[in-house]
Amino acid sequence: MSILVGTETRLCTSGITGREGTFHTLRNRDYGTSVVAGVTPGKGGQDVDGIPVFDTFHEAVRERGANTAMIFVPPRFAADSILEAEDAGIELIVCITEGIPAHDELRVYNILKKNGRSRLVGPNCPGILSPGKASVGIIPASFFSPGNVGVVSRSGTLTYQIGNVLAQHGFGNSSIVGIGGDPVPGTDFIDVLEMFQADDETELIVLCGEIGGDAEERAADYIAEHVTKPVIGYIAGFTAPPGKTMGHAGAIVSGSRGTAAAKAQALEERGVRVGRTPTQVAEAAITLLRG
């Protein structure tokens, strides 16, 4: 098994006719993902390298049975595209787009929560990779192989770095989930921890956090109560000064809150080993999985 994406995925990309949309959709298809449709209003009836394009998600669902959406439209159109996908009955919506207004994210989050029929991953995330099965997003899939380590991360490239160090030490992955670095992620650590805990294939979980917010602290509480599989933590941003946004809209330390030290401490107090560098994460994995 794996989580969120796999052989059952039927992908539809919003913004498929854009440069980035086309490039990554085709890369996902090359990897083996079942890409069934794209959506670009006004370009219905066209195709992108054989992938049919529709005017609306509703048509993509009706005509092609799409169940997963990848959002690649510019930030000012992203909220609308997510809401359309949800309205059309898409179960999993992966939003790659960066720079979506915070109030749009708030609205989208609360509407999806109210209706309870779709899961959003992101926005501002690299997507999800289940090695050997499917890739939805921009994760460079060739660096990863199937295995028993589940990775969940607020960051993109940092995930690749950690995944790469793990791979160099011989570990493969069940799934790699980028939840994104924005203030209001559709899916948070706890959601993914729950899925990894329930996933047969996952034997170890790596949680990659960063400064800002309290998602890691809440994850620590959840782990203590609900996760029996071993978890290794990593937090980026020990050297970040307060009050400065560190690239991700969510990565900001305000007052004494949201510091890397506080997050690492919260995890460690609940028995989660926290690596100070990506290399230490791999070393901890060796200890935990190979004794």
């Binding site: 460079p140 770095q161 980026a236 970040a240």
Partner: protein, 381 residues
């Protein structure tokens, strides 16, 4: 995007939040003219994006034109915690019967706006929160419902505001919420929110943070940015579309992606070095972006060595190598560079660098190794 007090108050006025009459001024002459218009006594207030200016002499009361001139002259150009005062706000002085605190905050944990009201206004609210948390009434507003009259009443009654101002305080909170949502702010704070002797309520200060990602929907607000308050390097980076944060150390750092960039800073610090900056070259970094980034990093003259830490995903390492080679052609840096290229097209990138054999550029194969090397190089006399 943090607004200056007077910019916040102008937004407030647009949404019906009562504020004292005032005028902005950039020179002593403008300040005196503004004081004449609003009348005496008036407050001459330094416009800087930092708290505590009152105690540092950044707010003074003028009773006549002579005092207005004297205060404006004293405050303009003043240094307040590292920020130079370029602008003043001259406003009618207010009589104060009570000082409250009110705010709307974008609460990421609750995924909802958080409203707070306290009768302990005029002081540091974080201190109140620590010492007397019950003195702050709080509630979350369901963003799908919006602010309702009962929210205002409940906050007012629970905070214990004077009975005769429950209604106007509730109405003012409704207006603050409107500012928060329609202007797409992430913070709207009024401290103090005052009650006047004639039982009016009024925002005596304004702290507003707007969401930079939403400015495309608010062209008026997009004009408000005050570049004079920003660090020159940060401004230069922003103009080039780079995310750059200046720090205090000597090691310039470039990485791709916010998480990896922060991690790189940490690993350098772990190795005993002091980062000079955070710089995320972004996803899909192209050669020109890399050249620009090198210029920004080197414009900080405390930088004694530079670390490039790239893990290619969308970003292609050969593009990064090309950018670095071009930067060296244009700039000819005088400090050593340590470069670690991994991921997409990593081999091609490393080959390009090897062929170019740039002076004083050291190639490392791991992040840890690169960090140790750059710390060592920066420490050399």
């Amino acid at each position: 995007m943090d607004l200056l007090e007077y910019q916040g108050k102008q937004l407030f006025a647009r949404h019906g939040v009562p504020v004292p009459d005032g005028r902005p001024a950039r020179t002593v002459e403008e300040a005196v003219a503004a004081a004449q218009e609003v009348g005496y006594p008036c407050a001459v207030k330094a416009q800087v994006q930092i708290g505590g200016r009152g105690k540092l002499g950044g707010i003074r009361i003028a009773h006549d034109a002579g005092e207005a001139e004297q205060h404006a002259r004293a405050i303009l150009g003043m240094d307040i915690r590292g920020l130079t005062v370029h602008e003043l706000w001259i406003e009618a002085a207010s009589e104060i019967a009570a000082e409250y605190y009110a705010s709307v905050v974008f609460d990421r944990s609750a995924k909802a706006p958080l409203m707070m009201l306290s009768t302990k206004g005029g002081m540091d609210i974080e201190q109140v929160a620590d010492e007397d948390p019950d003195a702050i009434a709080r509630l979350h507003v369901d963003p799908l419902l919006g602010f309702q009259d009962f929210h205002g009443r409940r906050l007012a009654f629970e905070a214990g505001v004077d009975a005769d101002v429950v209604r106007p305080v509730g109405a003012l909170l409704a207006r603050l919420y409107e500012v928060f949502t329609t202007e797409e702010a992430t913070l709207v704070e009024v401290n103090p929110l005052i009650v006047t002797p004639d039982r009016g309520v009024r925002a005596l200060d304004a702290k507003v943070t707007l969401d930079g990602n939403a400015l495309f929907r608010h062209p008026d607000n997009a004009q408000l940015r005050d570049p004079s308050a920003e660090d020159p390097q940060e401004r230069m980076a922003a103009e080039r579309g780079l995310t750059y944060v200046k720090l205090d150390g000597s090691i310039g750092i470039l990485a791709n992606g916010a998480g990896l960039s922060m991690s790189t800073l940490d690993v350098v610090a772990e190795a005993g070095g002091q980062p000079a900056n955070f710089l995320d070259a972004g996803g899909g970094s192209r050669a020109e972006a890399i050249t620009s980034a090198v210029e920004v990093i080197l414009s900080d003259d405390r930088v004694r060595a530079v670390l490039f830490n790239i893990f290619g995903g969308i970003t292609r390492c050969d593009e990064v190598a090309r950018g670095l080679i071009e930067a060296f052609r244009q700039i000819d840096p005088s400090v050593p560079f340590v470069v670690r290229l991994d991921g997409t097209n990593g081999e091609e990138g490393r080959e390009l660098l090897a062929e170019a054999s740039l002076p004083n550029v050291h190639i490392e194969s791991t992040m840890d190794g690169a960090a140790s090397r750059v710390v060592e190089l920066a420490a050399r006399p």
